[in-house]
């Protein structure tokens, strides 16, 4: 058996086991169980982290606009899927809002309830992604001329402006101003999230291993050489930015699904930092790393370390275990990871590379240098 075949089988087995585990969780646990919540949130974060990795890790563009694009996706999803009958109560301060249709209901009309509303929901996600991509194109025109930190500041600023803009009362008939969007349909189980995010990540993976993905990595490694070898920098950077934002927009829509209500407040820059943290912990330039890190991060912050906030952790009662202590411990753990795993958990390796002896040897050599 060739190495390549071995790797493919290994990857397929790992993915199948994970999917089966997720289905098992869905079948045995009620949908409000913390395990289901963790899986949902972690898959959403994984998708956004991978999209950020595509830009920051593979193309070398240090952008911090992810929260802004997620916000666009989330709002697009909410606005397009709230059932018409509920609009009056959701948009109570804006006379029921300006938009009087709901994609899931339209499709339920001629595709049947289950299929139709699912199609409508997926379409709303897609619209969110496209909206984010369009916005990325517009912002990219001026912003992508900037480099490194300056690009980060510009994109961060854009995300903050977008958040303020969406809370503006004049936009109320669409965004409901600073009030919540709610009552829209969501997936109750974790499996749809996993499948959806898995498919998106697979597409990103295909992109990264294509000739365009190689060109992105060339730009990251050496812009001057990349340009001299015929890679149009402006075009490829714009492309990476748009694609990354598209997936961040879809991630935002899924985040809306997971949260059940949409407001602009959660899409602060802290959200971007959380995602950036996941990318760094997982390993800049590793898709597997981003996915793994987002599960670890969400699992520990949402579940494992919960007790640190509520007085009891690992059976120990202590007065210092009160609100906020969880974040202290999490910060220490993250610092340790950054100190001892300089290149993150996975470095720039992927899942199949774990079988690879040569890459392990290479890692040793790199460590020796």
């Amino acid at each position: 058996m060739t190495m390549k075949k071995k790797k493919t089988i290994f990857t397929a087995v790992v993915l199948a086991v994970l999917l089966a585990a997720c289905v098992a969780v869905d079948l045995t646990l009620p949908s409000y169980h913390i395990a289901v919540t963790v899986i949902k949130k972690a898959t959403v974060y994984a998708l956004v982290a991978v999209s950020m990795n595509l830009l920051n890790g593979f193309t070398g563009l240090f952008s911090l606009g992810q929260a802004g694009f997620m916000l666009l996706g989330a709002y697009a999803y909410g606005v397009l899927t709230i059932p018409v009958a509920k609009r009056a109560s959701v948009y109570q301060y804006f006379d029921g809002g300006a938009i009087q249709f709901s994609l899931p209901e339209i499709f339920a009309g001629f595709l049947g309830d289950t299929v139709g509303s699912t199609v409508g929901m997926l379409l709303a996600l897609l619209v969110g992604g496209l909206l984010a991509a369009l916005m990325a194109y517009l912002i990219g025109l001026p912003v992508l001329r900037l480099k490194s930190d300056y690009l980060a500041i510009a994109t961060l600023g854009f995300a903050e402006i977008l958040r303020a803009f969406f809370q503006w009362n004049a936009l109320g008939p669409i965004t409901n101003g600073s009030n919540l969007l709610k009552s829209y349909p969501t997936f109750a189980h974790a499996t749809p999230y996993v499948i959806l995010a898995g498919l998106m990540i697979a597409v990103i993976l295909l992109l990264i291993t294509s000739t365009y993905g190689r060109a992105f990595r060339a730009i990251r490694d050496d812009e001057v050489a990349a340009e001299a070898m015929g890679i149009n920098l402006a075009r490829h950077k714009r492309m990476a930015f748009i694609i990354s934002s598209f997936f961040a927009g879809i991630g935002g829509g899924m985040m809306a699904m997971y949260m059940g209500t949409i407001a602009a407040a959660p899409f602060k820059s802290t959200l971007t930092y959380e995602i950036l943290l996941i990318v760094v912990i997982g390993g800049i330039g590793s898709i597997t790393g981003s996915v793994l890190a987002s599960f670890l991060y969400i699992f520990s912050s949402e579940w494992l370390l919960r007790g640190l906030d509520s007085g009891k952790f690992l059976g120990i009662n202590s007065p210092i275990f009160k609100n906020g202590f969880r974040m202290v411990v999490l910060s220490v753990i993250i610092m340790c990871i950054v100190l001892f795993f300089r290149k993150g958990i996975m470095g720039d390796k992927e899942l199949p590379d774990l079988l690879d002896r040569r890459s392990r040897k290479r890692k040793k050599e790199a460590a020796g240098k």
Binding site: V203, L206, L207, S210, T211, Y212, R214, A215, R217, A218, R220, D221, D222, V224, A225, A226, E227, A228, M229, G230, I231, N232, L233, A234, M239, I243, G285, D348, R358, R362, E365
Partner: protein
């Protein structure tokens, strides 16, 4: 009469008050190997950078295959600072980015090796083929370009065999010894399917044996790929051994041009650059 591939016409490159290249004129014909030599700081690499689009010249034009690819005239602050001649001759502005010039059929290597560090030898060459691929981002992502990709991979393997790096194709580019990295840079440039190859000090840091091998190698690839080669080099054995013609730059100015024999006997070149050999 053979065809004119590259023509540099009245090119001046001024950085503020510093004139790096002063009114340079040169022509390279199809199939020739032409060397550009001169002391350090004479403006050789700057001239390369103007030709490949990295810098926009202060004044002058560059022609490639009879087509004007770069043109500029003093403007803005340079208008009052410009010291060169031919100031009124150029009116247009043509400033394509380096990638566009590469696509026209002009590829280069770098003086200080610029390989893509995180990539394997194979990928370094394969990425250079990206500019020749016709797929768009969707067809590439969803693998509708399998045929083209396979052809590119086959071509890269062939190139690696020619430059003698096939057995290290899965190594990281930076793990190669210096001489092989230089060869890899040449292979990468060849992958962009150029007509004119620009080599910026291809033998820098090589020992005499490696230099001799490289000399033979450059001649070989010229014949095999029907290339025209323009190179900067300090190893006189290499330059005198393979060049059809030589241009000599000193302080940005062209001080001589001619065949290797003519250059070796040119008093100005000897004074400025070559010096008198110890064993002569």
């Amino acid at each position: 009469m053979s065809k004119n591939v590259l023509k540099v016409e009245n090119v001046t490159m001024q950085f503020g008050g510093v004139v790096a290249v002063d009114n340079l004129n040169l022509e390279i014909n199809e199939g020739e190997i032409v060397a550009l030599i001169g002391p350090n700081g004479a403006g050789k690499t700057t001239a390369f950078n103007v030709v490949t689009g990295v810098y926009q010249p202060t004044n002058g034009a560059v022609w490639f295959n009879g087509e004007k690819i770069v043109e500029n005239h003093p403007q803005g602050k340079m208008k009052s600072m410009y010291k060169g001649e031919h100031a009124g001759e150029y009116t247009g502005v043509l400033a394509p980015t380096p990638d566009k010039i590469t696509k026209l059929g002009l590829a280069r290597t770098f003086q200080n090796i610029r390989l893509w560090k995180s990539q394997t030898v194979f990928n370094n060459v394969l990425i250079a083929k990206h500019c020749r691929s016709t797929s768009n981002v969707f067809s590439a992502t969803f693998r509708m370009n399998r045929k083209e990709e396979a052809a590119q991979r086959a071509h890269v393997e062939e190139l690696l065999k020619i430059v003698g790096l096939y057995d290290v194709k899965d190594e990281l580019a930076t793990s190669l010894p210096y001489g092989k990295q230089r060869r890899l840079e040449i292979a990468r440039a060849l992958a962009a399917e150029p007509q004119l190859l620009l080599l910026d000090e291809p033998a820098a840091g090589m020992n005499p044996q490696e230099t001799d091998e490289l000399t033979a190698f450059i001649g070989e690839i010229r014949d095999r790929f029907k290339l025209t080669i323009f190179l900067i080099e300090h190893h006189m054995n290499l330059v005198m051994g393979i060049s059809d013609r030589i241009y000599v730059l000193d302080f940005g100015k062209l001080i001589a041009e001619g065949t290797p024999a003519e250059i070796q006997n040119n008093q100005r070149v000897i004074d400025a650059y070559l010096g008198v050999a110890d064993d002569a």
